[in-house]
Amino acid sequence: MSQHPSAAEPQITPELVASHGLKPDEYERILKLIGRPPSFTELGIFSAMWNEHCSYKSSRLHLRGLPTKAPWVIQGPGENAGVIDIGDGQACVFKMESHNHPSYIEPYQGAATGVGGILRDVFTMGARPIACLNLLRFGAPDHPKTRHLVAGVVAGIGGYGNSFGVPTVGGSVNFHTRYDGNILVNAMAVGLADTDKIFYAKATGVGRPIVYLGSKTGRDGIHGATMASAAFEADAEEKRPTVQVGDPFSEKLLLEACLEIMARGCVVAIQDMGAAGLTSSAVEMGAKGNLGIELDLDKVPCREAGMSAYEMMLSESQERMLMVLDPAKEEEAEAIFRKWGLDFAVIGKTTDTLRFVIKHKGQVKADLPIKELGDEAPLYDRPHVATKPQAPVDAASLAAPMSNADALVKLIGSPDLCSKRWVWEQYDHLILGNTVQKPGGDAAVVRIGEGPKGLALTTDVTQRYCEADPFEGGKQAVAEAWRNLTAVGARPLAITDNLNFGNPEKPHFMGQLVGCLKGIGEACKALDFPVVSGNVSLYNETEGRGILPTPSIGGVGLVADVTKTATLAFRNAGEAIILVGETAGWLGQSVWLRDVCGREEGAPPPVDLAAERRNGEAVRALIVEGAVSAVHDLSDGGLAAALAESAMAAGVGARIENAAGGTPLHAWLFGEDQGRYILACAADRAEAILAGLRAKGVPARRIGVTGGDSLTLPGEAPILLATLRRAHESWLPDYMAGEIING
């Protein structure tokens, strides 16, 4: 270790430490750990490893409560992605990850590299990606930046996924003023692998070559992970140089080359260079394998001359991989990479020293204990306060300010409930020829190869519920994902979670994280729906204002036979419509209360997990039997919104009877009680289906009949489907064309 930093390297001062996002006590921890002041490069390495994004220092303690195991879980959290067994020797590999801050600063590249990063996480494990999804949250439509951000993010997601060649089959887009300065871009990727050919980051064997693959290293993205771990101030846009630039073409080549050398048995360990680039990937490989790592940075392929060790260790240039290869197959692997026109360089070796040693131009730039870099990262039990519960809203005391028909047209043409066709038509959702159910339904269904198996995929969270009651909101996010998978006929298997929250150093926001995690854990346990991968994004705050707590849930379910799925569309006239689940008319935190009455208040609907499971299993059985012709889950906008969506989908209307009983009609129509579905079935089968449901203890009643070119709500004039469709389809294109200023 050179005791004298070179002239080019700044002195370590308290200001320099602070600018690396390290708190004084964290710096003390470094001094104690290595027994001397760190070099400039080492300071950079610590800042990369100990930021929130990489170390989970605020969330780790609370993540421990999540259920991560089930007989079908092959790999839970802690690897590049989660892995579940889907039978027949096949595994599904998936994860969701945020790219929030970069996407706000530079929406196209931020979103594009978010997609690139998550795809890399999946194919690093040996899986070929078969689908992408996303969950996007933007600021209020009338915020001056929102339109620009929507346009850029959607184009960026499409630009990367379309070129890479994976269908983007699902997602969720909402707007709220609390995301004005801090949008959310969560991307999920799903891949397929053979269960006996999963690749991991753990390095084995001393003296083995460490190989750098993919694109060259440049100066982009330096300190990206550190930026992702800080709140934004007014100068957010000055951080543009920390955003990486994506190259989907290189990633596609990297995918094909990686899968080819994996198939030839060349790979011992593999890790993608994502957040904190070379630093994080190398440390992870060594620490997991109980090995030291020595890197010679003179060998790193660089895009520009004169890069320092510090820059190379912190660059987040995209489309790069680190591998430990079987030395006997090094030449074979190199030939494959050359064929694909990718860089291939041996840049170091594994050692038995348990040290992380960085050499550059004949100097040792860093020499750190490798395991402690990860294991000794700070762990905080941050103070947290629970969100004060709100009283339930009494539906009977709420007068409806407009007719139920007008309210429905308004809601299905509102920013949150309107058709997102403008978004998903910019994503290639049909490539690979296996998209059995495309965007716009409850869950996407993707066939596996030539079938008959398929995967059902969804992303969900209802952030306003989480804000009002983090525990119930956390439960609901999981239950909603489970319900959406169930509604297409899939058996829900596992989730990935992407926890987007505000500043964890503020007890209120920390309390939201703690509460949501408890709710998520409880729902996952009750529904046998474990968490197998995830990502935590904290400090989603701009100028002191935090986002709504948004724990995005990406759910995966198995469809045994893709010819037996359900869609939400009413297909035939004269069929019975059945409402499944208990309807109390819960209006607290409903979109009706917010968008029709202008009130964001009340306790959110509670989730009865036992009823959720009971109702869902009964509905799934009906789908598998082929007893129902349409199934739709009830969520935002309640029964009325669901009926409108089912009627619009294939142009078959419906007439609904007043089955509200003692519930005020507007609450019956727009309440957001959980654990509910609507079904359509042949009229002569309705009684048998109702009897079967009731025998299982599932509340169910007949509420109407399909047919006609309009939707008729009880006591209202018929609403033409054309009117509904115009409202539903026009808001987003009109808004993006600049024809609507206010939401």
Binding site: S163, F249, Q426, D428, H429, I431, N434, T435
Partner: protein, 228 residues
């Protein structure tokens, strides 16, 4: 019908094209790499699949049009062989000089992926015998640069000589207006070479071969070829 599918770096629908050929002909197509300089002996049909060849950071298809394999493809076409270019493959055919014109950015400057009807302009070519003239078939599109343009005289010649293969239309077969997704001249979705052996088209018939996944209207094109 012996088929070869060319893979360029950045191609991404080569598997979809191969699947459609396999289903229609019962035979696996030969896979050809962009850096190869010859086609396998006995190949009747060369498919240039969809994708973003070489990233398409330059004009779409511009680099692929000059790839080593393209000399062999041009020679194959000159011998009267069949060449089908879909999406990026159509762009490559235009860039390689095998078809006239150019694919510009879509009218509204956005990538668009959706189901799309096409009107079959003639049913007497090797690609369309399983369709009827004037039939509206439903396939899908997925492109950002599909707005076909060519010199006025070229368009007049294509129209006059019956070289327009498909036009964008609605479900009833009516062309024009909102049925045109990208601003393409005369609603052109695909064109033939003078000898009707080379077909370039933006839409993806290869993704519409299965009743479970959108329908089977694309299958006819591959079945026509199989019978040719």
């Amino acid at each position: 019908m012996r088929a070869a599918v060319v893979t360029f770096p950045g191609s991404n629908r080569e598997g979809d094209a191969a699947r459609a050929i396999r289903q229609a002909t019962g035979r696996e197509p030969v896979h050809v790499w962009h850096a190869d300089t010859a086609l396998p002996v006995g190949v009747d049909l060369v498919v240039l699949p969809g994708g973003f060849s070489y990233g398409d950071y330059l004009r779409c298809g511009a680099i692929a049009g000059r790839a080593p394999i393209m000399d062999a493809v041009r020679a194959h076409a000159a011998r009267g062989g069949y060449v089908l270019g879909v999406c990026n493959g159509f762009q490559i055919l235009c860039e390689s000089g095998l078809l006239p014109g150019v694919l510009m950015r879509n009218r509204d400057l956005r990538f668009v992926c959706r189901m799309q009807h096409l009107r079959v302009e003639r049913a007497d070519t090797a690609y369309t015998t399983r369709y009827a003239k004037g039939q509206a078939i439903e396939v899908c599109i997925a492109h950002g640069e599909g707005n076909y343009e060519a010199h006025e005289q070229t368009i007049a010649r294509l129209e006059g000589e019956g070289l327009v293969a498909f036009r964008y239309c609605d479900a009833a077969g009516l062309v024009g207006g909102a049925a045109n997704p990208n601003g393409s001249t005369n609603d052109i979705a695909g064109i033939y070479s003078d000898n009707l052996r080379v077909l370039g088209m933006m839409p993806h018939p290869e993704n519409l071969i299965d009743p479970l996944v959108g329908g089977t209207d694309g299958r006819g094109l591959f079945e026509s070829l199989a019978a040719a």
